[in-house]
Symmetry: C2
Subunit: 238 residues, 2 copies
Amino acid sequence: MNHIEVCFSPALYADYENKEAIVVVTDILRASSAIVTAFMNGVERLIPVGTLEEAKAYKNQGYMVAAERDGIVRDFADFGNSPYNFSADRVHGKEIVYSTTNGTRAIHLASSGHEVLIGAYLNLGALADYIRSCNRDLLILCAGWKNKFNLEDTLFAGALAGLVLADDRFTTICDSTHGAIDLYNLAKKDMMGYIEKVAQRHRLKKNGLDDVIAYCHEIDKTTMIPVFRKKSITLING
Amino acid sequence: MNHIEVCFSPALYADYENKEAIVVVTDILRASSAIVTAFMNGVERLIPVGTLEEAKAYKNQGYMVAAERDGIVRDFADFGNSPYNFSADRVHGKEIVYSTTNGTRAIHLASSGHEVLIGAYLNLGALADYIRSCNRDLLILCAGWKNKFNLEDTLFAGALAGLVLADDRFTTICDSTHGAIDLYNLAKKDMMGYIEKVAQRHRLKKNGLDDVIAYCHEIDKTTMIPVFRKKSITLING
């Protein structure tokens, strides 16, 4: 039997770590939604880096760089973290270096797992199908907000866990998985209404960046699955 | 305006720490329910200690000691962590040293707050009234299970946060508080049914210790509020 667990914060990762598991990293508002969008628009490769110093060093080597902290684009960067920034005219065929407040750190942490996938609503169904086909444990790592629990990643974790659990080779005895599924089932009836209370929505709104919230909750816009291997993100099924 | 936050794990405490807040520590199955019960049965003082070595040292000094790990009473201890162990004939008028897997560590962590209270369903209403009367921030610290999120503490946090938020001098922009409230409102319709899925229920059952689950979810059996001050727990309103 394959087990599903959900880890609500990178700060708890050591307690959930499972080297045999497929690890899905999610940061719905906005990094994982932006990464999936970049591949939908033909990016060749993304290089996630944890620190702004690393991002700046790549910029000095001539790379295109997307970098933000707390939702704000850094001055040395070409653009920030909105999925809308990763348009086809900008990213098609390119290698892009990427650094965000929470998401890129979570991706590096997760690399102790068997395989690291990037999950968003945009590729939810394809991701669930692929995970079921792998027939091994699943750990969903929520990027959270500066180590804190966040609702938008939790809801996505619940959506994904629910789909994978429909396959009877998967089970869970993990309280955070049960909690995430119950919250998703509550929220999905009116997702945009529910998301009103999410702290990150208020942060984005304050900076005029909340135009992407509905887009980041659109389900199954693509079957592409980004995978993190050897320090860069490419497509598992490109 | 006073803010409410919920911290789902002692491992996240540093990210939620608020020195101005009332901190309520909860470990529903079973430490905080046992502590409240001990005071209902007339205990004079509880001394929570983090390690079994400390507990053993107190035992050698002649103290009565309650100590368990993973639900199992330690051989040097007088009894373990079940609320039923703290009966009046055993605890009335006594000072008792207490060490558990998750709860006692959480109590010590919380002592950076303005005041540390012990919360359980047994004293829920009195606790909410007292917190409202203090008119300052509230942080609810869930003891969890070995740093992991657990549902039973989360549901209690939701119950308490919901009661305190009914006072319009309190507000929250904390995602874990919203999540906890929503899960409590979902679970409370059939609490014993909901608790079926909780991992700790299965752990207790395996060891024949699940007889206390219904008792630990009984609401408002007392108005007593245990408080942790100067390394020991007494009653704030005894």
